[in-house]
């Protein structure tokens, strides 16, 4: 039982580290130029449409050339 508790504690610490690193990355992304963010948005939309062709009509636009 004590072993499990120690394991959970380790896992919680690990989760916290991941969360912190994600938070840092989000802040880094927030500071990127809008041109880069919009390219990323288009890429995400294209991936979504490729995985779910039925959603293509819901993604009617592209923000970059």
């Amino acid at each position: 039982m004590a072993g499990k508790r120690a394991l959970f504690k380790e896992a919680a610490k690990f989760n916290e580290k991941i969360f912190e690193s994600k938070k840092r990355m989000r802040k880094v992304w927030a500071k990127r130029p809008m041109e880069v963010k919009l390219r990323e948005l288009v890429k995400l939309q294209e991936i979504t449409a490729a995985l779910h062709p039925e959603l293509r009509r819901l993604i009617p636009w592209k923000l970059s050339d």
Binding site: K23, R26, K27, W29, A30, M34, E35, K37, L38, E40, L41, L44, Q45, L58, I59, P60, W61, K62, L63, S64, D65
Partner: protein, 167 residues
């Protein structure tokens, strides 16, 4: 293609069709946050008031139609991007349009709503996607807390903000 939208908006101003504009909504927020999904560009404008008191966006519509842009539902399609013109609809949005920030996109100047106003408008609108936007702005946009507090207080949103933060 976003470049075409901004060029068109700046032309609407230089040709005197509108006095001011500012990009708001999700694309406005994205100038300050990470990328997130959205389907259109919301542009806040100060419309002309008719003697009858009716808000009039007709000058924008006429100009864009004559320039060859097509409408799909409520959107004008500019460079392939659906653009939604939103006439300022209350004191908060009117004040927001009077306090915009000038940013740059592909070396073109573009007016964007301040993140503090984007947060307040999102909170006032209050749909789940708006609250998500307010959350992203709060976490990532480096909001001026004093300014936000002042805006929320003057527009009766302080309680709503406390409830939102307390969730």
């Amino acid at each position: 293609m976003m470049k075409k939208v901004i060029q068109t908006l700046n032309k609407l101003v230089s040709e005197g069709i509108i006095g001011k504009y500012a990009i708001g909504g999700s694309i406005g927020a994205m100038f300050y946050t990470e990328t997130f999904s959205t389907k259109d560009v919301d542009v806040f404008v100060l419309p002309q008031m008719m003697p009858s008191g009716v808000v009039h966006l007709g000058a924008i519509y006429d100009y864009l139609r004559k320039s060859g842009f097509k409408m799909e539902g409520q959107y004008f399609i500019i460079g392939g991007v659906p653009v939604d013109f939103v006439a300022v609809y209350n004191d908060l949005t009117l004040e927001a349009l009077g306090n915009t920030v000038e940013l740059s996109y592909e070396k073109i100047k573009v007016k964007v709503l301040r993140p503090e106003y984007l947060s307040a408008i999102a909170l006032q609108t209050g749909r789940s996607q708006d609250l998500k936007k307010a959350g992203l702005l709060s976490a990532e946009a480096g909001l001026d807390k004093e300014l936000l507090k002042d805006i929320l207080k003057r527009h009766g949103l302080s309680k709503k903000w406390r409830e939102y933060i307390g969730r």
